[in-house]
Symmetry: C2
Subunit: 197 residues, 2 copies
């Protein structure tokens, strides 16, 4: 591939970055409209278990998918909010596909963080880093898959529990789910195109 073509792909990858940001921000706006307008807002110390659950929903998306850099702290508070909600609302922990994929996300994140630290933070020869970089990219992509599927199954679960079929709240949740999915795909597209330059 010649330099002009490489430049062309580099530009296309850059031009998709705003799309990823647009859908990321759109997801957050839709999510906030849903949680604040329909679901009574956020409150980790509320007596209403749903307001605790809303902290979980918001932090897991905003914290874990959108700001992956600060993900781990917000993610831990988000998981804490889920367990606290379960305790208050008398719901069993860790039974659903959502919770299983969510746990998987944390495990993959832990592996990614550990190997990232050992490979790229500690001093290493450049050749070692170059050899391990593709695996790091692949684990990052697995993480993205896990995180997106956790969000989609979580929305689907609540939609069904709350019996929101054919309601405007239900449609808002669906649009949020679509926006999160397109966000994931466009991030993945940027990564994929970046291999061509």
């Amino acid at each position: 591939m010649d330099a002009i073509e490489r430049e062309w792909y580099r530009r296309r990858a850059s031009s998709i970055t705003p799309v990823a940001h647009f859908f990321g921000i759109l997801s957050i706006i839709l999510l906030l409209v849903w949680l604040l307008h329909y679901r009574g807002g956020l409150g980790l110390d509320s007596d209403n278990p749903y307001r605790i659950l809303n902290v979980h929903i918001f932090l897991m998306f905003f914290g874990f998918i959108f700001f992956a850099g600060q993900a781990i702290t917000l993610g831990i508070i988000g998981v804490y909010a889920a367990f606290k909600y379960h305790y208050k609302a008398n719901v069993t922990n860790m039974y659903s596909l959502h919770s299983w994929i969510g746990l998987g996300t944390f495990i993959v994140y832990g592996i990614q963080w550990f190997f990232g630290f050992v490979t790229f933070w500690l001093p290493r020869p450049g050749a070692t880093r170059a050899r391990l970089a593709p695996w790091h990219v692949c684990f990052g992509r697995a993480l993205l898959y896990f995180a997106i599927c956790t969000a989609e199954t979580g929305l689907m679960q609540l939609f069904t529990i709350l019996k929101l079929a054919s309601s405007s709240e239900g449609r808002l949740i669906n649009f949020t789910g679509l926006a999160i999915l397109i966000f994931g795909i466009s991030v993945d597209l940027v990564i994929a195109l970046s291999h061509y330059y």
Copy 2:
């Protein structure tokens, strides 16, 4: 990147292909155990709406994700089974995130098929094909995302509707969902590594 390294990545990508097949086949086995043992089997002309729904579940995974080549025909019968189930069980169509992402999968598939036909089946200069190939790869990856998320939300939806929490059937569904997700990630990993050789 030198020839030895390229060869190394080519071998690793080949060695992950059996993993993808393993999880693909494992997903099918788990899915069949669930549908045949717990859900009364498959039957498109059954009076039991759930046996019609089971045809939908099986064909959408086996037909659409596993055998993407023959996907479109099996996919259309699978969607037909979903609408027939809705009609028999008196359920509204197209209200859930699952149905929305499922429709999105068909739209992306249609775009992929159309551009694939125009670019790679009709006679084209090699340079044009080389330029369009990365987009084709990216759309394929978007399709994989859509298909995996459709499967995960569908399993989550039924799990919740059938109130399967803490049951062995529920755990079987969760393992199926995890296997489908790992299948998707390992296919994606093969694609990603193939860019390094």
